[in-house]
């Protein structure tokens, strides 16, 4: 009987030879590989991040005291805008070549696939932004005490930005000019992260205990991890079927 069961690997050895990743790892690897092949998309948000931060001393004042005061807010706003800028391309190419439809039709849990795509997006924008942030901090005369707060708050905050932004990207993926619309939909939702993120940096500069800020940023991240993929999945289904 056992031999006649269809779709069963002949033996374990063969199965291990053609090892297939789960939906999460598979989607993650695929997205990372695709982005790696298009390096310009990878670098553009970082350049944008750097440029926005350069505009502030030019536009307002190069005075170190003043810059040090506004640095936490400026770095956070720049990170937020850079994340937003890269959001539009998250589902766009998959939608255009039909991959997205296959993903929705496949029996794999959409939740995992979506989470993997967002994680890949964060690894390619949020993480480099976080690593680049100390450089901006130096350029804007952020006191050295603030650096740890800056990096940790960005590390906790940027994944939330990616998760929330992905909802906007999923809602607008079927539209031809989604770019500006995403900002309109998503920016109000970014405000809590901005408030607590920049407050954490400010707190680090003044030497306040930071546990509370990080706890709140972490709480927002966990809420986002649980809820956002559901909203993203629902939004993708609506956008693709419409």
């Amino acid at each position: 009987m056992k031999d006649t069961v269809p779709n069963q690997p002949a033996n374990n050895e063969m199965a291990s030879e053609y090892k297939v990743d789960g939906p999460f790892l598979g989607a993650l690897k695929r997205d990372l590989l695709l982005s790696y092949r298009r390096k310009s998309d990878l670098v553009n948000p970082l350049i944008f991040f750097l440029m926005v931060a350069t505009l502030f001393p030019l536009g307002v004042s190069p005075d170190p005291g003043f810059l040090a005061e506004v640095a936490p807010g400026v770095v956070w706003v720049a990170a937020l805008l850079a994340t937003l800028l890269s959001m539009d391309s998250l589902f766009r190419s998959d939608f255009e070549d039909g991959t997205l439809e296959q993903m929705l039709l496949s029996p794999q849990p959409l939740y995992m696939v979506v989470l993997a795509k967002v994680l890949a997006h964060w690894m390619l924008t949020g993480l480099p932004l976080t690593l680049l942030a100390p450089l901006l901090g130096v350029m804007l005369f952020l006191p050295a005490d603030g650096m740890s707060g800056l990096v940790i708050s960005l590390l906790l905050g940027t994944p939330t930005l990616s998760l929330v932004g992905a909802i906007g990207a999923a809602l607008t993926v079927g539209l031809r000019k989604g770019g500006v619309l995403i900002s309109l939909l998503v920016l109000p939702l970014y405000i809590p992260v901005l408030i607590f993120g920049s407050a954490a940096v400010q707190g680090a500069v003044t030497g306040l205990p930071l546990g509370g800020y990080f706890a709140i940023l972490g709480a927002m991240l966990s809420l986002g991890l649980v809820m956002a993929p559901l909203a993203i999945g629902a939004a993708l289904r609506i956008s693709v079927s419409g």
């Binding site: 929330v164 909802i167 809602l171 607008t172 079927g174 539209l175 000019k177 619309l181 309109l184 939909l185 920016l187 109000p188 939702l189 405000i191 809590p192 408030i195 607590f196 407050a199 927002m220 809420l223 809820m227 909203a231 629902a234 939004a235 609506i238 956008s239 079927s241 419409g242």
Partner: protein, 250 residues
Amino acid sequence: MADKKWMPRWFYQLASPRWCYDITGKLLPFFAIAAVVMLVAGAVWALVFAPADYQQGNSFRIIYIHVPASILAQSCYMLMAVAGAIGLIWKMKVADMVAKSCAPIGATIAILSLATGAIWGKPTWGSWWVWDARLTSMLILFFLYLGIIALNSAIENAQTAAQSTAVLALVGLVNIPIIKYSVDWWNTLHQPATFTLTERPAMPSEMWVPLLVMVIGFYCFFAVAMMLRLRNEIIQRERRSSWVRDLITG
């Protein structure tokens, strides 16, 4: 279809655009009369009979517009999100139309709340705009409304537009308490213990009774405005059906 009897009958009737058109037509005059009576009585009471505040003087009378508008703008968002959720879950066209009708009204009411808050700020704080926690939260709520209206008008297919905005409204609904909390917290951090507009110790009854009348009047006004928009929406989407044709020719 008839196996789910746990919902009251009117819930299913509500799903019928025609029934909804008829019932709103019958309800409209009552709400319109109630709104006019309440708003006129409330405004006269607020402007003429209510005592002036001992601290702010007569500029206090703006509260009778500002507070009802703020409450209504928030309730309107709730209604929009709940109607959107009903539309998503039960695929009910009327619920989608209710959600769509709510957005422009809510946005204008939010503008009213912001404008009166700013005007009130001038005699109270000496400037037209102060980054007060309540005003800032209302501004963000206004942005959320704008996002929903923009998304709804960007999508051509009516059903897709309704579903997408419903998802966005629900995401916003989850976010509103978080935004409100973080803005309150941010405000205490940056301007400790400022004088807030509407948070007052016990208000005497000659002050809050007209306020209550105004709040109810605003709700009645909202019901009228929403039903008018809903009826337009129903006619427009059902324009191919025979009953709408009879309505137009007859």
